[in-house]
C-alpha cells in the first residue's frame, strides 16, 4: 500500500502547534515509515500538491494568502484537520476582531507606524505582505473541516492519539480532556 500522503500547514499562528508536533520525539521516526510528508513548514516544497490524504492546518485565517491557501488545501485534500486553538477557535489572532470591522487598519497603524523605530509606514508593495482580512476566522468558517484537534498547543500525546487513529484508518475521535482548549 502507498504511504499516506500527509501535509502540515502554518497559517495565522505562532508555530507552537508545529513545535508540539516535533515534540512527538521518537514517534516521528515511526511516523516517517508510515507517511509521506508532502508539504510542511519543515519540508522544502513551494506549492501545495494534489491528492493529499490528510492535512493538519495550524493557525487562523487572517489574511488573503491564508484564505487562498485554505481553499486550495480543501480542494486538494481528502481529510482536513484543524490543528490547535487558532485553527479551531481563531484564538489569539482573532482578538483584533474585538476592535470592529476596521481593525485591520488600526492594528497596522499600531505595529508599523506607532511602534516603528525606523522608516514608519504601512507596507503596500503588491505581492509582498498579504492584505489582512477584515475579520480573523477559524478554519471551519472559511472551508469545511473534517476533524478538530484543540489545544494551545495540543500536547504531543494528543497529536499522537489522533495520528494513530488516522493511520489505523479509523474515524479520529478525541474525548474528554483531549478536547481541552487552551
Amino acid at each position: 500500500m502507498d504511504r499516506l500522503k500527509v501535509a502540515t500547514v502554518w497559517l495565522g499562528g505562532c508555530a507552537g502547534c508545529h513545535m508540539s508536533f516535533l515534540d512527538l520525539d521518537e514517534f516521528l521516526l515511526e511516523l516517517a515509515d508510515q507517511i509521506e510528508l508532502v508539504y510542511s513548514p519543515v519540508v522544502d516544497m513551494k506549492e501545495y500538491p494534489e491528492n493529499v490524504d490528510v492535512c493538519l492546518i495550524e493557525g487562523a485565517v487572517c489574511n488573503e494568502d491564508n484564505l487562498e491557501l485554505a481553499r486550495k488545501i480543501r480542494a486538494r485534500t481528502k481529510v482536513l484537520v484543524a490543528f490547535g486553538d487558532c485553527a479551531v477557535t481563531a484564538n489569539v489572532p482573532a482578538i483584533r476582531n474585538q476592535l470592529g470591522l476596521d481593525n485591520a487598519e488600526s492594528v497596522l497603524q499600531h505595529a508599523y507606524i506607532e511602534h516603528a523605530r525606523h522608516n514608519p509606514g504601512i507596507p503596500k508593495a503588491p505581492g509582498i505582505v498579504p492584505e489582512l482580512l477584515a475579520r480573523v476566522m477559524p478554519v471551519h468558517e472559511a472551508v469545511e473541516v473534517d476533524y478538530f484537534l484543540p489545544g494551545c498547543p495540543p500536547p504531543a500525546s494528543r497529536i499522537k492519539t489522533l495520528m494513530l487513529q488516522v493511520l489505523a484508518g479509523e474515524t479520529p475521535k478525541l474525548e474528554g480532556a483531549d478536547l481541552k482548549f487552551g
Binding site: T89, A94, K180, F181
Partner: protein, 238 residues
C-alpha cells in the same frame, strides 16, 4: 415534611417535598452538568445546562429550579439533552471572547472543563467578538466582561452571602452585563466590602484577583461553603 417518590434515570428515589430535581439527584449520587448553580445561594435557572426530560411534558426543564412531584419520571442524560447542552455551551463561547490560552482561569475554569466533558470540539456558531471594557479600578479585584457568561453567581453571592449588594445586572439580551453600584467603576463602588466572595464564586476568569496571570486564577470555593454552612446549620466547620 412529606416525601415524594420519583424516578431519575430509572432509579426510584424519594425526596423531600419542595426539593428541586437537582437536590434530589445529588442526594442520590446522580450528577448532571451545572454552571449557574452555586451551593449556598438560590437558583435562577440561567445557564440551562441542567435541563432534564420529564415524562409527560414536551419542554425541557431546568433541574435546579424544578420541584419534585409525586411519580415524576426524570431523565438526565439522553441524546436530546446532550445535543442541547453542547449547543448551549457553544453559544456561551460564541457570545463573548473566551480565549482560554491567555486566560487567568485556564485549567481552573468550569466553562472550559464543561466544554470538553460534553464533547465540544469546536463552536459551530459564528463568534460575535464583542468589545467590552475591562474594569481594573478596584484595588484587589478585576472584572473582564469578555469572559463573563452572565450566570449571576457573583451577584447572588454579593447580595445573599455577603449582603453588600454591590454587583448587579444591567441591560438586556446581548447587552446584558454585570455592573458595580450604579454602573460606576468598581474602585468607586462604596458598597463593596472587598470580601472577594464574587471572585470565589465566578466559574470563569471574568472575576480575578489582581496580579494573577495566565492559568494562575485558582479559587477557594470552600470559604463560601463554610459561611453558608455556618449560617444555615449553625456549624462552624472549617
Amino acid at each position: 415534611m412529606a416525601a415524594k417518590t420519583l424516578t431519575i434515570d430509572g432509579k426510584e428515589i424519594s425526596a423531600e417535598e419542595g426539593a428541586t430535581i437537582l437536590q434530589a439527584a445529588e442526594e442520590h449520587g446522580i450528577t448532571m452538568p451545572t454552571l449557574c448553580h452555586l451551593d449556598g445561594v438560590y437558583d435562577v435557572g440561567a445557564c440551562r445546562l441542567c435541563l432534564v426530560e420529564v415524562a409527560g411534558t414536551p419542554k425541557l426543564l431546568p433541574a435546579c429550579t424544578t420541584r419534585v412531584t409525586e411519580g415524576m419520571d426524570v431523565k438526565t442524560d439522553t441524546e436530546r439533552l446532550r445535543k442541547y447542552r453542547r449547543m448551549t455551551l457553544e453559544l456561551l463561547f460564541a457570545e463573548r471572547n473566551h480565549v482560554c490560552a491567555v486566560c487567568v482561569a485556564n485549567g481552573h475554569c468550569e466553562l472550559q472543563s464543561l466544554a470538553y466533558s460534553q464533547g465540544m470540539d469546536h463552536v459551530r456558531y459564528e463568534y460575535r467578538f464583542p468589545h467590552w471594557e475591562v474594569d481594573n479600578t478596584h484595588p484587589l479585584f478585576g472584572m473582564d466582561p469578555h469572559r463573563c457568561i452572565l450566570c449571576t453567581r457573583c451577584v447572588r453571592a454579593c447580595w445573599h452571602i455577603e449582603g453588600a449588594g454591590t454587583l448587579n445586572v444591567s441591560g438586556r439580551s446581548a447587552g446584558s452585563h454585570i455592573i458595580t453600584d450604579l454602573n460606576q467603576p468598581w474602585g468607586l463602588a462604596d458598597s463593596c466590602t472587598r470580601c472577594g466572595k464574587c471572585v470565589m464564586s465566578c466559574p470563569t476568569g471574568a472575576l480575578y484577583y489582581k496580579g494573577s496571570t495566565v492559568s494562575e486564577m485558582e479559587r477557594d470555593r470552600s470559604k463560601l461553603e463554610f459561611i453558608v454552612t455556618a449560617r444555615e446549620k449553625k456549624q462552624w466547620i472549617a
